[in-house]
Protein backbone atom coordinates (compact mmCIF):
# COMPACT_ATOMS: atom_id res chain seq x y z
CA UNK A 1 0.00 0.00 0.00
CA UNK A 2 1.19 3.45 -0.84
CA UNK A 3 2.19 5.52 2.16
CA UNK A 4 1.78 8.80 0.33
CA UNK A 5 -1.78 8.37 -0.86
CA UNK A 6 -3.85 11.54 -0.55
CA UNK A 7 -7.36 10.27 0.05
CA UNK A 8 -10.37 11.90 -1.56
CA UNK A 9 -13.00 12.32 1.14
CA UNK A 10 -15.60 13.99 -1.04
CA UNK A 11 -19.02 12.48 -1.55
CA UNK A 12 -21.92 13.18 -3.88
CA UNK A 13 -25.25 13.46 -2.14
CA UNK A 14 -28.28 14.10 -4.35
CA UNK A 15 -26.28 16.30 -6.70
CA UNK A 16 -24.52 18.23 -3.95
CA UNK A 17 -20.79 17.64 -3.55
CA UNK A 18 -19.70 17.45 0.08
CA UNK A 19 -15.99 17.98 0.68
CA UNK A 20 -16.12 15.16 3.21
CA UNK A 21 -18.82 12.85 4.57
CA UNK A 22 -19.03 14.37 8.06
CA UNK A 23 -22.24 16.34 8.65
CA UNK A 24 -23.20 17.93 11.98
CA UNK A 25 -26.45 16.40 13.24
CA UNK A 26 -29.55 18.47 13.83
CA UNK A 27 -30.04 19.80 17.32
CA UNK A 28 -26.39 19.54 18.28
CA UNK A 29 -24.93 22.31 16.14
CA UNK A 30 -27.39 25.15 16.63
CA UNK A 31 -27.48 27.13 13.41
CA UNK A 32 -23.74 26.70 12.91
CA UNK A 33 -22.81 30.07 14.35
CA UNK A 34 -22.37 28.82 17.90
CA UNK A 35 -19.35 26.76 16.83
CA UNK A 36 -17.53 29.60 15.08
CA UNK A 37 -15.17 30.32 17.98
CA UNK A 38 -13.89 26.74 17.68
CA UNK A 39 -13.99 25.86 13.99
CA UNK A 40 -15.53 27.10 10.79
CA UNK A 41 -18.45 24.91 9.68
CA UNK A 42 -17.01 24.89 6.14
CA UNK A 43 -14.41 22.32 7.24
CA UNK A 44 -17.26 19.80 7.48
CA UNK A 45 -19.25 18.19 4.71
CA UNK A 46 -22.24 20.20 5.88
CA UNK A 47 -24.53 20.73 8.82
CA UNK A 48 -28.16 20.15 9.63
CA UNK A 49 -29.87 22.96 11.50
CA UNK A 50 -31.78 22.78 14.72
CA UNK A 51 -35.23 21.39 13.87
CA UNK A 52 -37.51 24.12 12.57
CA UNK A 53 -41.28 24.01 12.85
CA UNK A 54 -43.92 26.11 11.12
CA UNK A 55 -44.50 28.23 14.23
CA UNK A 56 -42.03 29.08 17.01
CA UNK A 57 -41.82 26.57 19.84
CA UNK A 58 -40.64 27.10 23.40
CA UNK A 59 -39.62 23.49 23.86
CA UNK A 60 -40.09 21.39 26.96
CA UNK A 61 -40.02 22.58 30.55
CA UNK A 62 -38.13 20.90 33.35
CA UNK A 63 -35.01 18.84 32.96
CA UNK A 64 -33.90 18.54 29.35
CA UNK A 65 -30.67 16.59 29.73
CA UNK A 66 -29.62 13.48 31.58
CA UNK A 67 -26.26 11.78 31.35
CA UNK A 68 -26.16 8.00 31.13
CA UNK A 69 -23.33 5.50 30.89
CA UNK A 70 -21.69 6.11 27.52
CA UNK A 71 -24.51 8.36 26.45
CA UNK A 72 -27.00 11.04 27.24
CA UNK A 73 -30.72 11.52 27.07
CA UNK A 74 -32.39 14.69 25.90
CA UNK A 75 -35.87 16.08 25.84
CA UNK A 76 -35.50 19.51 24.29
CA UNK A 77 -38.88 19.46 22.56
CA UNK A 78 -37.98 21.25 19.32
CA UNK A 79 -37.41 24.71 20.76
CA UNK A 80 -36.95 26.90 17.69
CA UNK A 81 -37.86 30.35 16.33
CA UNK A 82 -40.21 29.07 13.62
CA UNK A 83 -40.07 28.90 9.83
CA UNK A 84 -40.67 32.59 9.18
CA UNK A 85 -37.76 33.78 11.31
CA UNK A 86 -35.56 31.05 9.90
CA UNK A 87 -36.30 31.99 6.30
CA UNK A 88 -36.12 35.74 6.82
CA UNK A 89 -33.28 36.17 9.34
CA UNK A 90 -31.33 33.00 9.93
CA UNK A 91 -30.94 31.28 6.56
CA UNK A 92 -29.41 34.33 4.81
CA UNK A 93 -27.05 34.82 7.75
CA UNK A 94 -25.76 31.24 7.82
CA UNK A 95 -25.87 30.48 4.09
CA UNK A 96 -22.19 31.23 3.65
CA UNK A 97 -21.05 29.05 6.53
CA UNK A 98 -21.28 25.76 4.66
CA UNK A 99 -21.34 24.22 1.21
CA UNK A 100 -24.21 22.00 2.29
CA UNK A 101 -26.83 23.69 4.42
CA UNK A 102 -29.47 21.20 5.49
CA UNK A 103 -32.63 22.62 7.03
CA UNK A 104 -34.17 20.16 9.47
CA UNK A 105 -37.95 20.49 9.54
CA UNK A 106 -40.33 19.13 12.18
CA UNK A 107 -44.09 19.19 12.51
CA UNK A 108 -47.13 18.15 14.48
CA UNK A 109 -49.42 17.19 11.62
CA UNK A 110 -49.18 16.83 7.86
CA UNK A 111 -50.38 20.37 7.16
CA UNK A 112 -47.65 21.73 9.43
CA UNK A 113 -45.01 19.76 7.62
CA UNK A 114 -46.25 20.82 4.20
CA UNK A 115 -46.43 24.51 5.04
CA UNK A 116 -43.08 24.53 6.82
CA UNK A 117 -41.29 22.63 4.06
CA UNK A 118 -42.81 24.86 1.38
CA UNK A 119 -41.52 27.97 3.15
CA UNK A 120 -38.11 26.64 4.07
CA UNK A 121 -37.35 24.86 0.80
CA UNK A 122 -37.92 28.19 -0.97
CA UNK A 123 -35.09 29.71 1.08
CA UNK A 124 -31.44 29.38 0.10
CA UNK A 125 -30.80 26.00 1.66
CA UNK A 126 -29.31 22.97 -0.08
CA UNK A 127 -31.51 20.25 1.33
CA UNK A 128 -34.42 19.57 3.60
CA UNK A 129 -34.14 16.96 6.33
CA UNK A 130 -37.64 15.91 7.28
CA UNK A 131 -37.73 14.97 10.95
CA UNK A 132 -40.34 12.26 11.42
CA UNK A 133 -38.47 10.87 14.39
CA UNK A 134 -38.36 13.37 17.25
CA UNK A 135 -39.35 11.41 20.37
CA UNK A 136 -39.81 14.51 22.51
CA UNK A 137 -42.90 16.24 21.19
CA UNK A 138 -46.36 15.21 22.28
CA UNK A 139 -48.04 14.95 18.92
CA UNK A 140 -46.51 14.44 15.52
CA UNK A 141 -42.75 14.03 15.44
CA UNK A 142 -41.88 10.41 15.94
CA UNK A 143 -45.48 9.35 15.51
CA UNK A 144 -44.97 9.66 11.74
CA UNK A 145 -41.82 7.59 11.82
CA UNK A 146 -43.20 4.54 13.55
CA UNK A 147 -45.21 2.92 10.76
CA UNK A 148 -44.53 2.71 7.06
CA UNK A 149 -47.91 4.05 5.94
CA UNK A 150 -47.71 7.11 8.23
CA UNK A 151 -44.17 7.89 7.12
CA UNK A 152 -45.18 7.53 3.48
CA UNK A 153 -48.17 9.84 3.94
CA UNK A 154 -46.08 12.74 5.24
CA UNK A 155 -43.29 12.25 2.70
CA UNK A 156 -45.81 12.05 -0.14
CA UNK A 157 -47.48 15.23 1.10
CA UNK A 158 -44.33 17.33 1.30
CA UNK A 159 -42.69 15.99 -1.86
CA UNK A 160 -44.57 18.28 -4.29
CA UNK A 161 -43.73 21.42 -2.29
CA UNK A 162 -40.05 20.55 -1.91
CA UNK A 163 -37.97 21.43 -4.97
CA UNK A 164 -34.79 20.67 -3.03
CA UNK A 165 -33.35 17.24 -2.24
CA UNK A 166 -35.47 15.69 0.50
CA UNK A 167 -33.72 13.72 3.23
CA UNK A 168 -35.98 11.89 5.66
CA UNK A 169 -34.69 11.27 9.19
CA UNK A 170 -35.80 7.93 10.50
CA UNK A 171 -36.53 6.77 14.01
CA UNK A 172 -34.83 3.67 15.41
CA UNK A 173 -38.05 3.18 17.36
CA UNK A 174 -39.95 2.26 14.20
CA UNK A 175 -41.83 -1.02 14.36
CA UNK A 176 -40.14 -2.15 11.14
CA UNK A 177 -37.37 0.25 10.20
CA UNK A 178 -36.64 -1.25 6.79
CA UNK A 179 -40.33 -1.08 5.88
CA UNK A 180 -40.44 2.60 6.91
CA UNK A 181 -37.29 3.27 4.87
CA UNK A 182 -38.72 1.60 1.79
CA UNK A 183 -42.02 3.45 2.20
CA UNK A 184 -40.21 6.80 2.41
CA UNK A 185 -38.20 5.96 -0.69
CA UNK A 186 -41.34 5.03 -2.63
CA UNK A 187 -43.02 8.24 -1.44
CA UNK A 188 -40.25 10.33 -2.91
CA UNK A 189 -37.43 10.67 -0.36
CA UNK A 190 -34.10 11.46 -2.03
CA UNK A 191 -32.05 10.20 0.89
CA UNK A 192 -32.55 8.74 4.35
CA UNK A 193 -30.75 9.70 7.55
CA UNK A 194 -30.71 7.39 10.54
CA UNK A 195 -30.88 7.03 13.43
CA UNK A 196 -32.55 9.67 15.53
CA UNK A 197 -32.45 9.01 19.28
CA UNK A 198 -33.72 5.87 20.95
CA UNK A 199 -36.77 6.39 23.10
CA UNK A 200 -35.53 5.64 26.60
CA UNK A 201 -36.33 5.99 30.29
CA UNK A 202 -34.43 7.28 33.30
CA UNK A 203 -35.85 7.04 36.81
CA UNK A 204 -34.74 9.06 39.81
CA UNK A 205 -35.09 6.33 42.42
CA UNK A 206 -34.71 8.75 45.31
CA UNK A 207 -37.59 10.88 44.07
CA UNK A 208 -39.38 7.71 42.85
CA UNK A 209 -40.30 9.31 39.56
CA UNK A 210 -39.11 9.68 36.00
CA UNK A 211 -36.25 12.13 35.47
CA UNK A 212 -38.05 13.80 32.56
CA UNK A 213 -41.46 15.48 32.66
CA UNK A 214 -42.39 13.60 29.47
CA UNK A 215 -41.30 10.38 31.24
CA UNK A 216 -39.29 9.14 28.26
CA UNK A 217 -36.56 10.93 26.32
CA UNK A 218 -34.11 10.28 23.48
CA UNK A 219 -30.88 8.36 24.07
CA UNK A 220 -27.77 9.20 22.02
CA UNK A 221 -24.03 8.82 22.29
CA UNK A 222 -21.50 5.99 22.05
CA UNK A 223 -23.86 3.55 23.78
CA UNK A 224 -26.07 3.35 20.69
CA UNK A 225 -23.35 2.99 18.04
CA UNK A 226 -23.48 -0.78 17.45
CA UNK A 227 -27.26 -0.77 17.13
CA UNK A 228 -27.28 2.30 14.88
CA UNK A 229 -24.58 0.70 12.74
CA UNK A 230 -26.61 -2.46 12.31
CA UNK A 231 -29.69 -0.43 11.41
CA UNK A 232 -27.73 1.65 8.91
CA UNK A 233 -26.56 -1.54 7.22
CA UNK A 234 -30.06 -3.03 7.21
CA UNK A 235 -31.49 0.07 5.53
CA UNK A 236 -28.59 0.66 3.15
CA UNK A 237 -28.91 -2.88 1.81
CA UNK A 238 -32.64 -2.46 1.27
CA UNK A 239 -32.92 0.92 -0.45
CA UNK A 240 -31.56 2.57 -3.62
CA UNK A 241 -31.33 6.13 -2.25
CA UNK A 242 -28.28 7.32 -0.30
CA UNK A 243 -28.23 6.62 3.43
CA UNK A 244 -26.69 9.01 5.94
CA UNK A 245 -25.70 7.01 9.00
CA UNK A 246 -25.38 8.26 12.55
CA UNK A 247 -25.41 7.13 16.13
CA UNK A 248 -22.57 7.50 18.62
CA UNK A 249 -19.80 8.36 16.15
CA UNK A 250 -16.80 9.70 18.06
CA UNK A 251 -13.81 8.96 15.83
CA UNK A 252 -12.77 8.78 12.21
CA UNK A 253 -12.78 5.01 12.44
CA UNK A 254 -16.35 5.07 13.73
CA UNK A 255 -17.26 7.11 10.65
CA UNK A 256 -15.44 4.60 8.42
CA UNK A 257 -17.49 1.80 9.99
CA UNK A 258 -20.74 3.52 8.97
CA UNK A 259 -19.42 3.95 5.41
CA UNK A 260 -18.50 0.26 5.36
CA UNK A 261 -22.05 -0.48 6.54
CA UNK A 262 -23.30 1.27 3.41
CA UNK A 263 -23.68 4.91 4.40
CA UNK A 264 -22.95 7.57 1.81
CA UNK A 265 -22.19 10.10 4.53
CA UNK A 266 -22.47 10.30 8.30
CA UNK A 267 -23.85 12.69 10.86
CA UNK A 268 -22.29 13.37 14.23
CA UNK A 269 -24.21 14.77 17.19
CA UNK A 270 -23.37 13.96 20.78
CA UNK A 271 -19.58 13.86 20.25
CA UNK A 272 -19.72 17.50 19.22
CA UNK A 273 -21.45 18.40 22.46
CA UNK A 274 -18.74 16.66 24.45
CA UNK A 275 -16.03 18.73 22.78
CA UNK A 276 -16.53 21.47 20.20
CA UNK A 277 -13.62 20.36 18.03
CA UNK A 278 -14.88 16.77 17.73
CA UNK A 279 -16.22 17.02 14.18
CA UNK A 280 -13.14 18.51 12.51
CA UNK A 281 -11.09 15.90 14.35
CA UNK A 282 -13.28 13.13 12.96
CA UNK A 283 -12.65 14.48 9.45
CA UNK A 284 -8.89 14.49 10.08
CA UNK A 285 -8.95 11.03 11.62
CA UNK A 286 -10.95 9.63 8.72
CA UNK A 287 -8.43 11.11 6.26
CA UNK A 288 -5.55 9.64 8.27
CA UNK A 289 -7.28 6.25 8.43
CA UNK A 290 -7.81 6.24 4.67
CA UNK A 291 -4.19 7.27 4.02
CA UNK A 292 -2.91 4.57 6.35
CA UNK A 293 -5.11 1.91 4.82
CA UNK A 294 -4.48 2.97 1.23
CA UNK A 295 -8.10 3.91 0.61
CA UNK A 296 -8.19 6.42 -2.23
CA UNK A 297 -11.86 7.29 -1.94
CA UNK A 298 -14.86 6.28 0.14
CA UNK A 299 -16.40 4.37 -2.75
CA UNK A 300 -13.74 1.71 -2.16
CA UNK A 301 -15.13 0.86 1.27
CA UNK A 302 -18.79 1.82 0.99
CA UNK A 303 -21.07 -1.07 1.79
CA UNK A 304 -18.30 -3.66 1.86
CA UNK A 305 -19.60 -5.27 5.05
Amino acid sequence: MSADIVPDLSVELNGVTLKNPVIAASGTYGFGEELLPFHHPSVLGGFSTKGITLYPRQGNRGIRLHETRAGMMNSIGLQNPGAEVFVRDIAPRIRGLTGCLIANVGGSDIDDYVQAVAMIAAADVDMIELNISCPNVKCGGMAFGMRAEDAASVVRAVRPVCPKPLMVKLSPNAHDLVAVALACQEAGADSLSLVNTFNALAIDVHARKAVFDNVTAGLSGPAILPIALRMTRDVARAVRVPVIGMGGIETGEDAAAFIMAGATAVQVGTAGLVRPDALPRIVEELAAFMAREGIANLGQIRGIV
Binding site: G30, P37, Q58, R61, R64, E67, G221, V274
Partner: protein, 250 residues
Protein backbone atom coordinates in the same frame (compact mmCIF):
# COMPACT_ATOMS: atom_id res chain seq x y z
CA UNK B 1 -12.70 30.74 23.53
CA UNK B 2 -10.53 27.67 23.21
CA UNK B 3 -10.73 23.97 23.94
CA UNK B 4 -7.44 22.53 25.15
CA UNK B 5 -5.84 20.20 27.62
CA UNK B 6 -4.51 22.08 30.64
CA UNK B 7 -2.08 20.84 33.26
CA UNK B 8 -3.37 20.53 36.81
CA UNK B 9 -1.20 22.62 39.14
CA UNK B 10 -3.17 22.06 42.35
CA UNK B 11 -6.41 20.29 43.28
CA UNK B 12 -6.95 20.53 47.01
CA UNK B 13 -9.76 20.31 49.53
CA UNK B 14 -10.64 23.58 51.18
CA UNK B 15 -13.46 21.95 53.20
CA UNK B 16 -15.11 18.51 53.19
CA UNK B 17 -16.43 17.94 49.66
CA UNK B 18 -15.19 21.33 48.44
CA UNK B 19 -12.05 21.62 46.32
CA UNK B 20 -10.11 24.27 44.53
CA UNK B 21 -8.65 23.22 41.17
CA UNK B 22 -5.90 25.33 39.62
CA UNK B 23 -4.81 24.70 36.04
CA UNK B 24 -2.15 26.16 33.82
CA UNK B 25 -3.94 28.80 31.77
CA UNK B 26 -1.92 28.02 28.65
CA UNK B 27 -2.72 30.65 26.09
CA UNK B 28 -4.14 33.12 28.59
CA UNK B 29 -7.19 34.97 27.34
CA UNK B 30 -9.33 37.58 29.05
CA UNK B 31 -11.91 36.07 31.37
CA UNK B 32 -14.87 38.09 32.56
CA UNK B 33 -16.00 37.48 36.16
CA UNK B 34 -19.07 35.25 36.12
CA UNK B 35 -18.05 33.39 32.99
CA UNK B 36 -17.51 29.64 33.19
CA UNK B 37 -15.55 26.85 31.55
CA UNK B 38 -16.54 23.32 30.60
CA UNK B 39 -14.19 20.80 32.21
CA UNK B 40 -13.76 17.16 31.32
CA UNK B 41 -11.15 14.64 32.36
CA UNK B 42 -9.46 12.56 29.67
CA UNK B 43 -11.37 9.44 30.75
CA UNK B 44 -14.27 8.43 28.48
CA UNK B 45 -16.66 8.46 31.43
CA UNK B 46 -18.46 10.50 32.49
CA UNK B 47 -19.26 11.50 28.93
CA UNK B 48 -20.17 15.14 29.30
CA UNK B 49 -17.99 18.02 30.47
CA UNK B 50 -19.06 19.93 33.57
CA UNK B 51 -19.58 23.69 33.78
CA UNK B 52 -17.56 25.37 36.54
CA UNK B 53 -17.57 29.10 37.08
CA UNK B 54 -14.28 30.89 37.14
CA UNK B 55 -13.08 31.35 40.71
CA UNK B 56 -9.96 33.33 40.00
CA UNK B 57 -7.45 34.22 37.35
CA UNK B 58 -3.93 34.85 38.58
CA UNK B 59 -1.29 35.41 35.97
CA UNK B 60 -1.37 32.35 33.77
CA UNK B 61 -3.39 30.24 36.20
CA UNK B 62 -7.14 29.58 36.20
CA UNK B 63 -8.82 28.31 39.35
CA UNK B 64 -12.19 26.76 40.02
CA UNK B 65 -13.88 26.23 43.39
CA UNK B 66 -16.28 23.31 43.22
CA UNK B 67 -18.39 20.97 45.27
CA UNK B 68 -18.28 17.23 44.67
CA UNK B 69 -21.89 16.51 43.73
CA UNK B 70 -21.86 13.63 41.25
CA UNK B 71 -19.83 11.58 38.82
CA UNK B 72 -18.42 14.57 36.92
CA UNK B 73 -17.11 16.52 39.87
CA UNK B 74 -15.96 13.27 41.51
CA UNK B 75 -13.79 12.54 38.47
CA UNK B 76 -12.37 16.06 38.57
CA UNK B 77 -11.68 15.70 42.32
CA UNK B 78 -9.48 12.67 41.61
CA UNK B 79 -7.02 14.66 39.49
CA UNK B 80 -3.57 15.29 40.94
CA UNK B 81 -0.91 17.80 39.87
CA UNK B 82 0.54 16.90 36.49
CA UNK B 83 -2.69 15.32 35.24
CA UNK B 84 -4.35 16.98 32.29
CA UNK B 85 -7.93 18.13 31.94
CA UNK B 86 -9.84 19.48 28.97
CA UNK B 87 -10.92 23.06 29.56
CA UNK B 88 -13.23 24.80 27.11
CA UNK B 89 -13.91 28.48 27.52
CA UNK B 90 -14.28 31.10 28.75
CA UNK B 91 -18.01 30.78 28.06
CA UNK B 92 -21.20 32.70 28.66
CA UNK B 93 -22.01 36.24 29.61
CA UNK B 94 -20.52 37.16 32.95
CA UNK B 95 -20.92 40.19 35.19
CA UNK B 96 -20.65 43.65 33.70
CA UNK B 97 -18.26 45.21 36.20
CA UNK B 98 -18.74 48.69 34.75
CA UNK B 99 -22.45 48.38 35.37
CA UNK B 100 -22.08 47.54 39.09
CA UNK B 101 -21.82 50.75 41.09
CA UNK B 102 -22.57 52.20 44.51
CA UNK B 103 -23.29 49.95 47.47
CA UNK B 104 -22.82 46.44 46.10
CA UNK B 105 -23.96 43.30 47.93
CA UNK B 106 -22.76 39.86 46.88
CA UNK B 107 -25.12 37.13 48.13
CA UNK B 108 -23.74 33.58 48.06
CA UNK B 109 -25.45 30.33 48.93
CA UNK B 110 -23.05 27.43 49.50
CA UNK B 111 -20.85 26.78 46.49
CA UNK B 112 -22.52 29.82 44.87
CA UNK B 113 -19.63 31.70 46.45
CA UNK B 114 -17.34 30.35 43.70
CA UNK B 115 -17.57 33.22 41.15
CA UNK B 116 -17.42 35.99 43.74
CA UNK B 117 -13.70 36.06 44.52
CA UNK B 118 -12.79 37.03 40.96
CA UNK B 119 -15.76 39.40 40.77
CA UNK B 120 -14.83 41.08 44.04
CA UNK B 121 -11.24 41.53 42.91
CA UNK B 122 -12.43 43.04 39.62
CA UNK B 123 -14.81 45.38 41.42
CA UNK B 124 -12.05 46.56 43.76
CA UNK B 125 -9.74 47.05 40.79
CA UNK B 126 -12.47 49.19 39.19
CA UNK B 127 -12.53 51.40 42.27
CA UNK B 128 -15.66 50.06 43.94
CA UNK B 129 -15.06 50.40 47.67
CA UNK B 130 -18.48 49.69 49.13
CA UNK B 131 -18.60 45.91 48.84
CA UNK B 132 -20.46 43.57 51.14
CA UNK B 133 -20.46 39.79 51.05
CA UNK B 134 -23.34 37.87 52.61
CA UNK B 135 -22.65 34.15 52.49
CA UNK B 136 -24.86 31.34 53.73
CA UNK B 137 -23.86 27.72 54.32
CA UNK B 138 -25.51 24.59 55.68
CA UNK B 139 -22.55 23.83 57.95
CA UNK B 140 -19.06 25.21 58.33
CA UNK B 141 -18.28 28.06 55.89
CA UNK B 142 -15.64 27.76 53.19
CA UNK B 143 -13.98 30.06 50.70
CA UNK B 144 -14.40 33.06 53.00
CA UNK B 145 -10.66 33.50 53.50
CA UNK B 146 -10.47 34.35 49.80
CA UNK B 147 -12.16 37.66 50.55
CA UNK B 148 -9.83 38.83 53.31
CA UNK B 149 -8.34 42.12 52.25
CA UNK B 150 -10.76 42.37 49.31
CA UNK B 151 -14.15 42.82 50.96
CA UNK B 152 -14.30 44.60 54.32
CA UNK B 153 -17.85 43.72 55.27
CA UNK B 154 -18.23 39.94 55.37
CA UNK B 155 -21.40 38.47 56.86
CA UNK B 156 -21.89 34.76 57.47
CA UNK B 157 -25.00 32.68 58.18
CA UNK B 158 -25.06 28.95 58.81
CA UNK B 159 -28.14 26.78 59.07
CA UNK B 160 -26.58 24.75 61.88
CA UNK B 161 -25.24 27.77 63.73
CA UNK B 162 -21.65 26.54 63.48
CA UNK B 163 -20.44 29.97 62.42
CA UNK B 164 -21.84 33.48 62.07
CA UNK B 165 -25.56 33.98 62.53
CA UNK B 166 -27.79 30.93 62.64
CA UNK B 167 -30.25 30.96 59.80
CA UNK B 168 -30.39 31.47 56.07
CA UNK B 169 -28.73 34.19 54.09
CA UNK B 170 -31.66 36.67 53.98
CA UNK B 171 -31.17 37.28 57.73
CA UNK B 172 -27.87 38.97 56.85
CA UNK B 173 -29.03 42.01 54.91
CA UNK B 174 -31.81 44.42 54.02
CA UNK B 175 -32.03 44.91 50.23
CA UNK B 176 -32.91 48.60 50.65
CA UNK B 177 -29.43 49.21 52.08
CA UNK B 178 -27.83 48.47 48.71
CA UNK B 179 -27.85 49.84 45.18
CA UNK B 180 -27.36 46.46 43.58
CA UNK B 181 -27.50 42.88 44.81
CA UNK B 182 -25.65 40.10 42.99
CA UNK B 183 -26.70 36.55 43.89
CA UNK B 184 -25.44 33.06 43.16
CA UNK B 185 -26.75 29.97 44.91
CA UNK B 186 -29.58 27.47 45.09
CA UNK B 187 -32.90 28.36 43.45
CA UNK B 188 -34.84 28.98 46.72
CA UNK B 189 -32.19 31.50 47.76
CA UNK B 190 -32.21 33.23 44.39
CA UNK B 191 -35.99 33.40 44.46
CA UNK B 192 -35.80 35.01 47.92
CA UNK B 193 -33.27 37.55 46.65
CA UNK B 194 -35.44 38.30 43.62
CA UNK B 195 -38.52 38.83 45.77
CA UNK B 196 -36.78 40.85 48.50
CA UNK B 197 -35.10 43.15 46.01
CA UNK B 198 -38.30 43.59 44.01
CA UNK B 199 -40.14 44.71 47.15
CA UNK B 200 -37.29 47.03 48.17
CA UNK B 201 -36.83 48.45 44.67
CA UNK B 202 -33.21 47.32 44.61
CA UNK B 203 -31.69 46.12 41.36
CA UNK B 204 -30.72 42.44 41.48
CA UNK B 205 -28.58 40.26 39.27
CA UNK B 206 -28.40 36.47 39.44
CA UNK B 207 -25.91 33.94 38.17
CA UNK B 208 -27.69 30.72 37.27
CA UNK B 209 -26.55 27.15 37.52
CA UNK B 210 -27.79 24.50 35.07
CA UNK B 211 -27.12 21.05 33.75
CA UNK B 212 -25.39 21.52 30.42
CA UNK B 213 -24.20 19.40 27.54
CA UNK B 214 -22.42 21.66 25.03
CA UNK B 215 -21.96 24.83 27.09
CA UNK B 216 -21.82 26.97 23.94
CA UNK B 217 -25.46 27.56 23.09
CA UNK B 218 -25.93 24.82 20.50
CA UNK B 219 -28.00 22.11 22.20
CA UNK B 220 -30.62 24.14 24.13
CA UNK B 221 -30.35 21.68 27.02
CA UNK B 222 -29.78 24.25 29.78
CA UNK B 223 -32.55 26.73 29.12
CA UNK B 224 -34.36 28.60 31.86
CA UNK B 225 -37.72 30.29 31.72
CA UNK B 226 -37.50 34.06 31.46
CA UNK B 227 -39.85 36.94 30.81
CA UNK B 228 -38.66 36.84 27.18
CA UNK B 229 -39.08 33.09 26.72
CA UNK B 230 -36.77 30.14 27.20
CA UNK B 231 -33.18 31.34 27.26
CA UNK B 232 -29.92 29.47 27.35
CA UNK B 233 -28.11 29.64 30.68
CA UNK B 234 -24.80 28.88 28.93
CA UNK B 235 -24.91 31.47 26.16
CA UNK B 236 -27.54 34.06 27.12
CA UNK B 237 -26.37 33.83 30.76
CA UNK B 238 -25.34 32.53 33.22
CA UNK B 239 -25.75 36.10 34.52
CA UNK B 240 -29.26 37.56 34.13
CA UNK B 241 -31.13 40.52 35.59
CA UNK B 242 -33.08 38.84 38.42
CA UNK B 243 -36.39 40.25 37.22
CA UNK B 244 -36.08 38.45 33.89
CA UNK B 245 -35.81 34.97 35.41
CA UNK B 246 -38.93 32.93 36.14
CA UNK B 247 -37.81 30.46 38.77
CA UNK B 248 -39.33 27.02 38.56
CA UNK B 249 -41.75 26.44 41.42
CA UNK B 250 -40.56 22.88 41.97
Amino acid sequence: MTTDLHVVIRNQHVAPGILRLTVDGGAAQPVQPGQFHMLKTEAPEPLLPRPLSIHDVEGDLLSFLYEVKGAGTRAIAELVPGHRIRVTGPLGRGFDVQDLRGRILLVAGGIGIAPFRYLARALVAAGRDRLTLAAGFRGLPYGIEDFAGVVDDIRIATEDGSAGIQGRVPVLYRPQDFDVVVACGPVPMMRAVQQGCREAGTRAIVSMEARMACGIGACLGCTTQTTTGMRRVCADGPVFPADEVIFDER
